[in-house]
């Protein structure tokens, strides 16, 4: 009787260990996949003090086109862009502006000249620069690869979705150097 109880106990322990092992492998695989997703997703980030948490894609487009000058708290909107050549910039031009580089430049030249655009975007050379700029300017908005985001900036929902959520529309090709 006692031997049977021992055998049963050992069997249960082995099952539990196997389950834990499988879970850890599964979690590791999940984490790797999440990391890959973060690498592919493009996050729209604002200053932590910005009251805005969510924008629709249409609103986001208006902001990025410079057609909206201020946030609801009265802060002036400052658009931050990466220099040409960055995949993030290419993704934004494609996904938000629906323009190429030339059209983008023409848009802002024309807009500033006509007064339809309130402020021209600030161009920074690195994602880290973008992040720091947004950290220092309360009304700044920009974009970063989700894997480049940290606590100094705030990621906002686009169409009620955050990077990594199903149906999130902003993506960027995997990083292969600049």
């Amino acid at each position: 009787m006692l031997r049977r109880a021992h055998v049963l106990f050992l069997f249960c322990a082995a099952l539990l260990a196997g389950a834990l092992l499988a879970c850890s492998f599964g979690l590791a695989e999940l984490s790797a996949s999440e990391q890959a997703a973060a690498e592919r997703n493009l996050a729209i980030v604002v200053n932590q003090s910005n009251p805005v948490n969510e924008l629709t894609m249409a609103e986001l487009r208006r902001v990025f086109l410079g057609e909206r000058g201020h946030w609801p708290n009265g802060r002036r909107i400052t658009l931050v862009m990466l220099e040409p050549g960055w995949p993030e910039r290419a993704a934004v031009l494609t996904s938000i502006y629906h323009m190429d580089e030339a059209e983008f430049n023409n848009h802002f030249l024309h807009g500033l000249f006509t007064g339809e655009v309130f402020v021209s975007p600030k161009t920074l050379s690195t994602p880290e620069g973008v992040r720091k700029f947004i950290f220092n300017v309360p009304g700044a908005i920009g974009y970063l690869r989700a894997s480049d985001v940290d606590k100094t900036v705030k990621v906002i929902h686009i169409d009620e979705r955050l990077p990594g959520d199903k149906g999130y529309k902003l993506h960027v090709p995997p990083r292969e150097g600049k």
Binding site: R76, V119, T123, L124, G129, F133, N136, V137, G139
Partner: protein
């Protein structure tokens, strides 16, 4: 002869070598010791104060450094970082490059982080209420400035340089001035503390210098006083010795002159043919013989003393029968004793043990003691000689004591310490024209010490004196140990001992 030294009056005669010189000698010895002691105490006490001062000064200096100097250094660093915070912000105005804007913003934030840490450290180390108040005010003012700085920085980064400048001029400058004033006040407080601590160190330093100078002055004065005292003692001793030697020469000359006068007179009478009868010639011859012997005896004694003092004398030590030597000396001096009208009362314990020494020296010593008793025995005309065995607790040995007592004029207490000094003769004795060389007792003392013993005196003015010769007995365990001092004394006196019986 030794008793010639003994004073017959209570006070020393004026103009003699006793009294002031002796008193001065004692005073010098005691005062030198006291002077040394007081100097030592003074130096130790002042030295302790000096050590305490030095430690206090060291502590003050450490406090000044760790408290004020380092704090001033920290405040200077803090001032630099505040300037750096503002400077980096304003640098950003000079460019339109957003990347440079970000770089300057980073620099400004790093500097303001250091300032915040410095303020927190200052508040943590603040000890006084004033320091806490200033620290709190600085933290508040710095926080106010930082909020303005953030706005200015944001405006610059947004590209609104005019807005940034306007804000900086209206709010930034004022708030930054307040921060600078706070820092200046902290610096002033530290300056005051440093000045106070510097003043403490300075005061301690001055006090230490004064004390060290005091120690040196005390030591110098004490050294001069000691040297002066020692020189004075030596000079006094030399003067005394010279005086004693002069007295000795005069005394010896006098002692020689009397028998020489008798001899010369007798010789003149014989030469002039005044003495022709055989009986007269015999009488004159006997007188010349007696006087010659006295002179020879005197000269012998002087030579013996000289020999013992110069360590040139030699004596063979052997086991001596004290009773026989005492009897022999009494027999030798019987003529003198009888002629002086004295009688000797002898009391001797039976079967006295032997002593080791020089028979002739012991006989000379006893003879001197008996002759002294005859000279100063006074009107009682009585001399007591007693030989007995006693245990000396002081020396831890058994010894034979031979005491020669008289009922004569005695010795003043002030003279007792000096009666064994060579050439010393009491002014009272000189005044009463009692002849002598001043060597007898000194010679006896040297002989006693050469044999491992010693000579003591007890006396009372007007009642008489007792001179006691102490000799260690042969075979006594205690005397073995006591033999060394004797041997030492023998060596000092130039007497070489032998162990043969």
């Amino acid at each position: 002869m030794g008793r010639e030294k003994a004073g017959r009056k209570r006070e020393a005669m004026p103009g003699t070598s006793t009294g002031p010189a002796q008193t001065w000698g004692r005073f010098s010895r005691y005062s030198s010791a006291l002077l040394f002691f007081f100097t030592f105490c003074a130096v130790v006490v002042v030295g302790l104060f000096v050590i305490r001062d030095l430690r206090r000064a060291d502590k003050d200096e450490q406090n000044m450094f760790t408290g004020s100097v380092l704090s001033l250094h920290r405040i200077a660093a803090l001032e630099y970082q505040t300037q750096e915070t503002r400077r980096s912000t304003l640098y950003a105005l000079g460019t339109a490059d957003s990347n440079l804007h970000v770089k300057y913003a980073d620099q400004s934030r790093e500097a303001d982080h250091l300032v915040s840490e410095g303020i927190a450290a200052y508040l943590a180390n603040a000890r006084t209420r004033n320091e806490l108040d200033i620290g709190s005010r600085l933290r508040r003012d710095w926080s106010t400035y930082l909020s303005v700085r953030d706005e200015v920085l944001a405006s610059i980064l947004e590209g609104s340089a005019k807005e940034a400048v306007d804000r900086d001029l209206t709010e930034g400058v004022a708030s930054f001035d307040r921060v600078r004033q706070d820092l200046a006040e902290i610096e002033r407080v530290y300056d005051q503390q440093a000045a106070q601590q510097l003043s403490n160190v300075d005061a301690t330093s001055r006090r230490t210098i004064l004390r060290v100078a005091g120690v040196l002055a005390i030591t110098l004065v004490a050294t001069i006083a000691s040297v002066w005292t020692i020189q004075r003692m030596r000079m006094t001793g030399a003067i005394q010795l010279a005086k004693l030697q002069m007295e000795f020469v005069a005394s010896v000359s006098h002692e020689l002159r009397t028998p020489l006068a008798v001899i010369s007179s007798a010789a003149d009478n014989i030469a002039d043919g005044l003495v022709r009868e055989k009986d007269d010639l015999r009488k004159y011859g006997a007188a010349i013989q007696t006087q010659s012997r006295q002179m020879m005896e005197l000269v012998d004694q002087i030579l013996l003393f000289s020999a013992t003092k110069d360590r040139a004398g030699h004596a063979a030590f052997r086991t001596l029968d004290v009773a026989r030597i005492v009897d022999s000396v009494i027999h030798q001096t019987a003529g003198l004793v009888r002629a002086s009208g004295f009688h000797i009362e002898l009391e001797m314990e039976p079967a006295l043990p032997s002593v080791r020494g020089d028979a002739s020296g012991l006989a000379r010593c006893l003879q001197n003691m008996i002759v002294n008793a005859v000279k100063y025995g006074g009107e009682s005309r009585w001399i007591g000689v007693r030989a007995f065995l006693r245990h000396s607790h002081l020396r831890g040995r058994s010894e034979i004591q031979i005491a020669v007592r008289d009922r004569g004029i005695g010795i003043a207490k002030s003279e007792l310490a000096r009666v064994f000094e060579p050439f010393y003769r009491s002014p009272a004795v000189v005044g009463e024209q009692i002849h002598g060389t001043g060597l007898g007792l000194s010679l006896s003392k040297n002989i006693a010490e050469a044999m491992g013993g010693h000579l003591t005196v007890e006396s009372e003015l007007g009642s008489g004196s007792v001179f006691t010769l102490h000799l260690p007995i042969v075979g006594d365990p205690g005397s073995q140990a006591a033999e060394d001092p004797g041997s030492q004394a023998a060596a000092e006196n130039g007497v070489r001992g032998t162990t043969e019986k």
